[in-house]
């Protein structure tokens, strides 16, 4: 028996529970049809069925997850008991190693093991089997007990509907709490590591320093600088690349949105719009090597033709490709909000003798402005957070420059390079990643708040 069978068993019990509840409720339907409450079921049979199914499923699934969570530690403790004398006198690490080899031997008899330990391996196999079966039996019984007691509660005036709706509202509350708590957890961990970082590097150096070189000597005799953590160049690089991307994406995205919603024939729209949205589905790695291998060399060759010095890793190449990547974010959302402007406003404008262009410029765009702004801000957040394209196309050199033909680097790329490979977790180099991440988080958070503010301010403009 495996967990898969147990899971299938649970699903079956839940379905059976639903039908049992349903049938019992149908059986309790009064023969006299009337509107009087005492002459009808309080809830539809479906609610009774769902009630039983929920009592069948939720406790047993909770038990299952608890078991999956606890089983390893229970087994480990029991293995410790089984080892008996063999484990005495060993340090904690050695004990864990020993347990590991016993586990491997139990899984596959070809794994080498000391002959003296063979009895332990055998008893461990028995332990695993018996606890596994025991756990499954407990869980299966849980489901059946839940089914039995919940179906007993079904009665003509039993308020199954209220209970089912209550349970679902709790499930939905928990689901939304997961997202909230995750955000909270991420922020808290960022804050703590950032505070540690600022214990080693001064706040002003990080925020206002002009030199970024996070390499730190691992050994005393190593030839390396002590590292400097002026984050201005990398934030400037982020700003530069994001700006280039937005210069590409906003006009193209906006124009394509206007064309799609106001000019395109339904036929063109029906195939062009999904195609445009595919752009958003291309993995950023693909964009990255496209930028590094096609766009960057092309730009450099053009630069040679025009006598410009464009390095083969340039902010321009990364920005342009990133701009193309985020076009669908701008166009698709803007298209939706322009479409959402009521037809009556278009009619009103046309009836006054306005042309299509005037209607778009004077009525539709102002009315759709909040949605357009939030789509642009969403695209900006996306551009700021983008890593892959920049890593491949813009390079790693933290130059402080406004020249798009030079190599620059961004916050996300630096976080990536700081954490790739073996790291000490208490060196400022590693902790710098948290500080960068935290500042980046603050920036995107501000952008989101700004977007919300704009949307709220202009909401209810038309109705």
């Amino acid at each position: 028996m495996s967990y898969l069978t147990l899971f299938a068993f649970l699903i079956c019990t839940i379905i059976i529970g639903y039908f049992i509840g349903n049938r019992r409720a149908v059986g309790m339907r009064p023969a006299v049809k009337s509107k009087l409450p005492e002459n009808k079921l309080h809830s539809l049979p479906g609610f009774h069925g769902t009630y039983v199914a929920l009592w069948c499923g939720i406790p047993s699934l909770l038990l299952l997850f608890a078991w999956l969570f606890l089983e390893p530690s229970i087994l480990s403790a029991m293995l410790g008991n089984a080892l008996g004398d063999a484990g005495i006198g060993l340090s904690q690490d050695q004990l864990e190693l020993l347990k590991g080899s016993i586990r491997r031997a139990a899984q596959n008899s070809q794994n080498p093991i000391d002959d003296t330990l063979l009895p332990v391996v055998e008893s461990y196999k028995n332990i695993v089997n018996s606890t596994g079966i025991g756990g499954m039996v407990v869980i299966g019984c849980g489901a059946i007990i839940g089914l039995y007691f919940s179906q007993k509660k079904i009665a003509q005036r039993f308020a199954a509907r209220h209970r089912v709706e209550k349970i679902f509202s709790i499930i939905m509350l928990l689901s939304s709490l997961v997202a909230v708590l995750t955000t909270f957890g991420v922020v808290v961990s960022l804050i703590f590591e950032t505070i540690r970082f600022f214990g080693m590097v001064s706040f002003t150096e990080f925020l206002f320093g002009l030199h970024w070189s996070p390499q730190i000597a691992l050994r005393d005799d190593q030839v390396a600088s002590s590292g400097s953590f002026g984050a201005v160049p990398i934030f400037a690089g982020t700003l530069l690349i994001t700006a280039i991307a937005m210069v590409i994406a906003v006009p193209i995205g906006l124009f394509s949105a206007i064309y799609m919603s106001e000019y395109a024939s339904p036929r063109f729209r029906s195939w062009a719009k999904p195609l445009l949205e595919i752009l958003a589905g291309i993995p950023t790695v693909v964009y990255g090597f496209f930028a590094a291998l096609s766009v960057a060399p092309m730009l450099r060759n053009w630069g040679v033709d025009f006598g410009l010095e464009i390095s083969s890793e340039s902010a321009l190449a990364a920005g342009v490709v990133m701009g193309v990547m985020i076009i669908p974010f701008v166009s698709s959302l803007s298209d939706d909000v322009i479409n959402a402007v009521p037809q009556s406003l278009r009619d009103g404008s046309y009836a006054l003798g306005a042309t299509r262009g005037e209607t778009i410029k004077l009525v539709l765009l102002p009315a759709a402005l909040p949605g357009i702004v939030s789509s642009v801000l969403l695209a900006t957040s996306r551009a700021i957070g983008e890593t892959m394209i920049v890593v491949m196309a813009a390079g790693l050199a933290a130059n402080l420059t406004a020249n798009p033909f030079q190599a620059v680097t961004t916050v996300t790329v630096q976080i990536l390079t700081l954490l790739v490979g073996d790291q000490e977790f208490d060196s400022p180099k590693t902790l710098a990643a948290f500080a960068l991440g935290f500042v980046l988080f603050i920036i995107t958070l501000c952008l989101n708040i700004l977007a919300l503010k704009i949307v709220n301010k202009y909401r209810e403009k038309y109705d």
Partner: protein
């Protein structure tokens, strides 16, 4: 059923002796494969109110929208026949639809002010037609248009507030003011009171009566009483055809056609 009727001077009853502002001959309209209008012949008299009545889906709104070519916006809509405005075919290729709509304004069923200030709503049309030179021009157009629409006293202190913040009846009068501001010759009204309460409706009806001094008005309405109160001529549409067209007085007191009789006395459907 008794129908109220505003007093109409005898001289206004001679329809045939007057020249039509609009002359429609053999108008067929199709939505895709479905024919919505069948050979509509009608003369709309200058400085009169002409009402188009009939059950839902009879084509009266479709016909109204032909008069300023609003159906052009609908891709699948196809027009055949001839509509003359002052003797000129409005579907002729040399006609610019923008200029046509400046001459033939429209007010819709649901008030649809732009999400802009009251002031901006009024100057929208004149501005795109290049009728405004400078601020004083604009102020004047705003004031006269709102006065003619009977809204000036209610909104003169809050011209910069959004038009969408007005009540339904005020919004509809704002839309009428917006149409007037372009100084059209004809105003088309598509059930202008159907979203309004009786008091707002009465105000709009009074307004229509005043406006006919300067404008030719065509109004689609579902209310028989409204047609009888405001219009001088009435056309009864049914299933895409004109069943009867004549003076409102005659249609409501002595219809020639049995279907008309049934409809106006409420025996239809």
């Amino acid at each position: 059923m008794s129908v109220q009727k505003t007093g109409v001077p005898m001289s206004e009853k001679q329809i045939s002796s007057q020249v039509g502002k609009f002359t429609s001959r053999g108008v067929d309209v199709y939505y895709g494969d479905k024919q919505a209008l069948f050979g509509i012949d009608i003369d709309i008299m200058e400085n009169k109110v002409t009402s188009l009545i009939g059950p839902s889906g009879c084509g009266k709104s479709t016909f109204l929208r032909c008069l300023n070519r609003m159906n052009d916006v609908i891709d699948i809509c196809r027009f055949e026949g001839e509509i003359l405005l002052d003797g000129q075919d409005i579907y002729a290729s040399e006609i610019d639809v923008v200029e046509l709509r400046a001459r033939v304004g429209m007010v819709f069923q649901k008030p649809n002010p732009f999400p802009k200030s009251i002031y901006e709503n009024i100057v929208y049309g004149p501005r795109i037609h290049g009728m405004i030179d400078g601020r004083s021009d604009a102020d004047e157009i705003v004031e006269t248009s709102l006065k003619r629409a009977g809204l000036w006293n209610e909104v003169k202190d809050r011209l910069n507030e959004p038009g969408t913040g007005l009540s339904g009846g005020q919004q509809q009068r704002l839309c009428i003011a917006r149409a007037i501001a372009v100084n059209p010759e004809v105003i088309l009204m598509d059930e202008p009171c159907s979203a309004l309460d009786p008091i707002a409706t009465a105000i709009i009806e009074e307004l229509i009566d005043e406006l006919k001094e300067n404008f030719t008005i065509v109004i689609v309405t579902h209310s028989m009483q409204q047609a009888a109160r405001v219009s001088q001529n009435t056309a009864f549409f049914h299933l895409g055809k004109i069943i009867e067209f004549g003076e409102t007085d005659q249609i409501f007191t002595n219809p020639r056609n049995q279907q008309t009789q049934d409809y106006i006395t409420g025996r239809y459907g």
